[in-house]
Amino acid sequence: MKAIKILERSLAAIPIMFGVAIVVFLFMRLTPGDPVDIMMGQGGAVSAGEMEQLRAEFHLDQPLHIQLWLFLKDAVRGDLGYSYVQKLPVTRLVAERLPATMELATAALLVSLTIALPVGILSATRQNSLLDRFSMAGAFLGISMPGFWLGIVLILIFAVRLKWLPVQGRVDFESQFTPVTGFFVLDSLLTGNRAALISSLKHLALPALTLGAPVSAVVARVIRSSMLETLRSDYVTLARSKGLSEWSVVFKHALRNALIPTVTVVGLQVGVLLGGNMIVETVFSWPGLGRMVVGAIFDRDFPLVQGSVMVYAFTFVIANLVVDILYTYLNPKISL
């Protein structure tokens, strides 16, 4: 029964993905004038023949609905077009950069949950205490803080002044190792390279903190408020009156239910992680998808921008799908 519902929910994501692809396709229409002209404006002298060839490659010589059809047909086959500047398939370029981005996003999510869970739970169990007020003020600050600025301030403090952590990149030049998965932390573990492991963790620390900070602020607030709600509910009072230890009341009874709304919010925060990704990768020169897109924007490499935005949106759709499915396991009362 559950499997069927999960399948149903997954199938419902397909039209959304098609819609996303159509919206991304329409992006190209936003350019004032002819995209090929604009791209060539920076490319130097090009013959009329080459222009025509490029126009044909982008199907710009066809009517709009045919262009859309061709675009969707290619996208379904995993063909997101050719990067005009790098002369390589967009899918390949994205795939090359994706591990770095995924590693950063995963680390940021872990950092934010490591901060948010204890802070949220402690604030709720000690409502209105100094700790509660302090952490909620911190959470407010985290929500209002622009990520690019936080990154720069962290660099100023920990890299420039204290010299504890590196300014940019993923790993030191000296620590040579062969990438297996593209996740450097994992790779250095797999190859047993201790120096590379420490180096990659050090490189990961500041970007992950910068990207995770706003997420942890939002999640801590949600955990606190939903914990407060569950702690006041009848079944928690019952558990208390049965003489259960406070530990068991908080963690076994209250937290489990408080996590249900939290999961949804974490799912939505994946959007923040993805959006902040371009910013943080730019600040820390992290060689991931985000930095590639920002570069592609200034190169006027429209196919690459288009393809990458689509990958971001798809990731977001899939993340929310996963959250929805997770939801059913956490809360047996709710069916998909």
């Binding site: 996303v20 910013i279 971001y312």
Partner: protein, 312 residues
């Protein structure tokens, strides 16, 4: 309230109605002011926002420096309290020898203007569409709701960056990039509330008394919803301002010669090792403004709409 006087002409009747309406508005405003006084955090936040607003409007009167033109001989002057700094340039100067404080004050114009306009247009568009579709439902509702779902599939900043990448930098483009997706949330709130309110008795009563649909939407239902829209609008304004700053940080904001906080932080990035202040201060100005707007929004929610629980 006074007893209805004898009404002679339709004009008099109209004037009388307007007088009552005015008095009610005044009373509501007074009540709001009274409650704001009991909410010190929101009050202070409101005063800070007002200060930013006044600073932005009267920027040329506040500072005598030119925000665009600098003196290359005075590059990277440190803040006044550091060795080598002077009170002529309280927060120091940037790579082109321009006064940082002046540029920060002028930068408030862009942040407030973009934040205000993009939220304003989003509210207008989202509420109108939400009110119409929530009330009438039908095919238009189906189409617009699908479109809203679709836009929700994009992370906001990614969407804005994507739009700006194709449209190119510029003020109008920036506002458009932010409102293309910004209206969705207001649309969903108003549509949802509209559908709920529509079944209420007072709406039924208004319809029985012969009021037209447009009048019911505009005069009966919308005043009950508008408060949650205001609260949401305030909370989203902070997000929009951060988003604008993020876009200008990436070089996708307005034209580079106009001072904006995001691009100021970006320009200081290359000189971080020697002059920390160039990136730091515009960011602090941004942080204080957004923090104040968020705190004011939370206060507004407590005062206007304690039921409403908007997350994030």
């Amino acid at each position: 309230m006074e007893i209805t006087p004898s009404i002679a002409t339709p004009m008099q009747r109209l004037l009388y109605l307007w007088r009552i309406r005015w008095r009610l508005t005044l009373r509501a405003l007074k009540e709001f002011g009274r409650q704001l006084l009991g909410h010190p955090v929101a009050l202070v936040a409101g005063i800070i926002i007002l200060a930013y607003l006044l600073g932005a409007i009267f920027a040329p009167q506040i500072t005598s420096h030119d925000p665009a033109r600098g003196n290359l001989r005075l590059r990277f002057q440190p803040p006044a309290w550091q060795e080598g700094g002077s009170w002529e340039y309280p927060l120091g100067t940037d790579a082109q020898g321009r006064d940082l404080l002046t540029r920060i004050i002028y930068g408030a114009r862009i942040s407030l203007l973009v934040g205000g306009l993009s939220v304003g247009i989003s509210i207008l568009l989202g509420s109108t569409l939400g009110a119409l579709t929530g009330y009438y439902r039908g095919r238009l509702d189906a189409i617009i709701s699908r479109l809203a779902d679709l836009l929700l599939a994009f992370p906001f900043l990614i969407f804005a960056i994507g739009v700006m990448a194709f449209m190119g930098p510029g003020f109008t483009n920036l506002i458009m990039a932010l409102t293309f997706k910004g209206w969705v949330e207001f649309f969903r709130v108003v549509r949802g509330e509209m559908m709920a309110e529509k079944t209420q008795e007072y709406v039924e009563a208004a319809r029985v008394s012969g009021l037209g649909h447009t009048a019911i939407i505009a005069k009966e239902i919308l005043p009950n919803i508008i408060q949650s829209v205001f609260v949401l609008g305030t909370l989203r304004m902070g997000d929009m301002i951060i988003m604008e700053a993020s876009l200008s940080f990436l070089g996708l904001g307005i034209q580079p010669h106009i001072p904006a906080w995001g691009s100021m932080v970006a320009s200081g990035r290359d000189y971080m090792l020697v002059s920390w202040w160039v990136s730091t201060f515009p960011g602090i100005a941004l942080l204080i403004l957004v923090l104040s707007i968020n705190l004011f929004g939370e206060g507004l929610r407590d005062i206007l709409d304690p039921r409403l629980k908007l997350q994030g």
